[in-house]
Point group: C2
Chain length 233, copies 2
């Protein structure tokens, strides 16, 4: 009887993980989810104005609800809210991109310098493998998302929910500018092998080497991005 209770308790404890999904469904948040997806897939282009009337009608929600969704995305820096002028899909300046990479160096650098947990290593390894598979299949869009998962997984080594969340937001913001890459292959290909290499360094516990390697990695990614981006401002 005792062990029976124990397993029940264990099952109940597992359930607690799903608690997050419970409350999470107001109309405004669902609208925000939709818009976030549309923005990160490039359906809405940076600089484009999002009309309250048009979108509220298209989605079948009231203007007030839509405005709540706009607020949410504004706080995620995906939308630019200009008073009395409306909301616009954010346009990142070159300075913004530089700042995003500064933050990445801090977040990912700190993660790499920590001994990553077994669980973190698994997540990282998965992302590496996915990227390699996608590259072999010439699916460079998939390589991009695998790459994002790779860096997100890196940050989980910090064991901090808040840093995970910050990284999620940061990557969403970066997606705003990924679309300027005319040829995604040129941007993603160089990093497939490096991800594998970095994973190796982490597994071997060569953390300082991993950190310097990562710095160079991020420097180059930033350069590539800025070069492709700067011209059309």
């Amino acid at each position: 009887m005792d062990d029976c209770l124990l397993t029940v308790n264990d099952a109940v404890a597992d359930l607690a993980q799903d608690r997050g999904r419970l409350g999470r469904s107001s109309t405004a948040e669902r609208v925000a989810d939709i818009l976030r997806d549309r923005i990160s897939e490039g359906f809405f282009e940076p600089g484009q104005r999002l009309s309250e009337e048009a979108i509220s009608e298209a989605l079948g929600v009231s203007r007030n609800t839509l405005r709540e969704a706009f607020r949410l995305l504004g706080h995620e820096r995906l939308l630019d809210h200009r008073l009395n002028r409306g909301v616009f899909v954010r346009i990142l300046s070159a300075e913004d991109v530089a700042d995003l990479y500064r933050v990445r160096r801090v977040l990912e650098g700190a993660a790499v310098r920590r001994a990553p947990s077994q669980r973190a290593l698994e997540l990282i390894a998965e992302a590496v493998a996915d990227g390699e598979r996608a590259a072999a299949a010439d699916d460079w869009r998939a390589v991009g998302t695998a790459n994002i998962r790779f860096h997100q997984a890196l940050v989980t080594a910090n064991q901090s929910p808040r840093l995970d969340e910050a990284m999620r937001q940061l990557l969403a913001e970066l997606r705003l500018v990924f679309h300027v890459m005319a040829n995604p292959r040129d941007f993603h290909e160089p990093f497939v092998a490096r991800n594998r290499l970095l994973l190796g360094l982490l597994r071997d516990g060569r953390l300082e080497e991993a950190a310097t390697f990562l710095d160079g990695y991020l420097d180059e990614a930033e350069q590539l991005l800025i070069r492709a981006y700067e011209p059309n401002r």
Copy 2:
């Protein structure tokens, strides 16, 4: 005539700096400012429910506008928004506090490992001096705010607007729990001298020493806070 035009253009260019102040005043944001202040000064206590009806009436704004303000503060993690139940002043768990200090170690640690700019050193030195003055005057509340300014200034060494903003939010969140300290002196006093010490290490360029010193510093602050906090959960 040419140089006349030049100076006019220069003056106009300077004006562009103030552009930020223009759009920054919707009613919802001003309401959010008020509530944020009230929360961080402890007027609203953690766990307290903020009634839409009562507050919208008290502030003379509509429920819709107030809800927009609530969303803003929810995103800053100062309010807890539970669907169909209302918004509550956030209650930080001990795990939250631990996470906040994890983030601080990353943000402040990265800042310290960088050679801080002259400007950053000045800001840090000012905060140190303010803290010492306030301590001499037995004004422990002022010591607390000076201490916050000290750590905020530390992070500016990262030269990243986004990290500055993240630190601002983090400290606002931490203020939610500072109020549990019955005796602010016990909490702030030990750190006045350490701030001075850390400043010295930074000035001398002994960055690695500064980093390890800071880690110990944050460990102890976290311990003090958790010990005072854990009992009354």
